[in-house]
Symmetry: C2
Subunit: 239 residues, 2 copies
């Protein structure tokens, strides 16, 4: 929440007076047809009202009416590796920022890169998601939108995060395994099939699909804009 400084209030007072006193001068001339009176009135008003306008601004600075703050929301993307969740999440995040909304983007790759000891066992994954969820909830509590993109395969971890947040929107990117494996952008499925990666979601670790996601997106045959638009539409009341 910004505060208006005194400089801003004075600048607005001057700026408004240019319009105001010109209007007054014209009106007085129209009614009196006397140039001198119109000019006198204009000048006296010019000086006197700058102070009054400034006082008026400082008074309104204390009145909350009509100062719109968006309702921060945690938008949580879950889905298989390669499902397209990160692409849509980044689009949504960019769109929120473009609208001047305070928003943070979080994803698995970035955070795991910073904390390289985080493993892929059930316990490690669960702890990882819970910690990210705590981070998201703290950002939300402080007025920041969060767009999070994590495979987050376990229902229990996601339920924990939902419980921490005030406004939690679960986006299930439901692109099926066959399609994700066909795309295999990072070559991870091939490596998992060869047994080079263990605990890989969809291959040798389960993905527990959300039963009651707020938004479900199968990325086959839809554009990023359509998918992202669907998410924004779901949260439009919070923007």
């Amino acid at each position: 929440m910004h505060r208006d400084t005194n400089v801003r209030s004075f600048a607005k007072a001057f700026s408004w007076r240019i319009f105001g006193s010109l209007t007054t001068t014209v009106i007085v001339y129209v009614f009196t047809k006397r140039v001198q009176v119109a000019l006198f009135v204009g000048v006296v008003e010019l000086v006197g009202k700058i102070l009054l306008f400034w006082l008026h601004e400082r008074l309104w600075e204390r009145i909350p009416l009509g100062k719109h703050e968006p309702t921060p929301t945690v938008i949580w993307f879950t889905g298989l590796s390669g499902s397209g969740k990160t692409t849509i999440a980044q689009w949504v995040h960019a769109e929120l920022r473009r609208r001047g909304i305070r928003a943070e983007y979080l994803d698995g790759d970035t955070i795991r890169h910073l904390f390289p000891t985080t493993g892929f066992t059930r316990t490690d994954r669960d702890q990882h998601i819970r910690r990210v969820g705590y981070l998201a909830s703290k950002l939300e509590e402080n007025g920041v939108f969060v767009v999070a993109s994590f495979i987050s395969p376990y229902e229990e971890s996601r339920a924990f995060v939902r419980g921490l947040c005030r406004n939690f929107v679960e986006v299930y990117v439901s692109t099926p395994l066959e399609e994700c494996e066909r795309r295999d952008v990072k070559g991870l499925y091939a490596r998992a099939r060869r047994g080079e990666i263990r605990n890989f979601t969809g291959i040798d670790d389960p993905y527990e699909a959300p039963a009651n996601a707020d938004v479900v997106i199968d990325t086959r045959g839809v554009t990023v804009e359509e998918s992202g638009g669907k998410v924004l539409n779901r949260i439009r009341g919070n923007l």
Copy 2:
């Protein structure tokens, strides 16, 4: 950052007109001594200028001049258990909130309560502090002040956190071990001395005192307000 809604701009236009048109009416009467002219001018101005004022507000909504945003800062309290860091940190946090500043308070007890598997070995402590530091830096990045109170005994962990943040103020609460042990508010020193708690900072785990803390506070013989005031004074340029 709030946005002014149309409702607010209209409300301000009406509110300002009450002052403005009354003033105009009086000025016109003083110069012309004609009541009818003065009233006519007042009424025409009243209606016409409400629209103009509203347009003026909408224009200024796009001008950033004088919209003051505080510079978010991470205020990191480090010190032995019982040193008094939490008491001062909570005072500072409350004071920031009282001034209308967006601020989050983080401490070891709260976060460890939520993640009970976090241990007290060197690796566990270091990872814990790094994760909290990441949380703090993300809050800071999004305009939130952070007041953090953690024993954070290792120089390396604190340096990592400092590196993540843009504005990092290290507050070393330097109350000596003897005094902390004498207070022993939670009875932890007694238990550590009896060997019931392992890896206890100051007893069987080292505390690496900061060499270049931004603020140093020994709590013997000073009040919470004095200590907190010292911290606020250090960051006053950011408020």
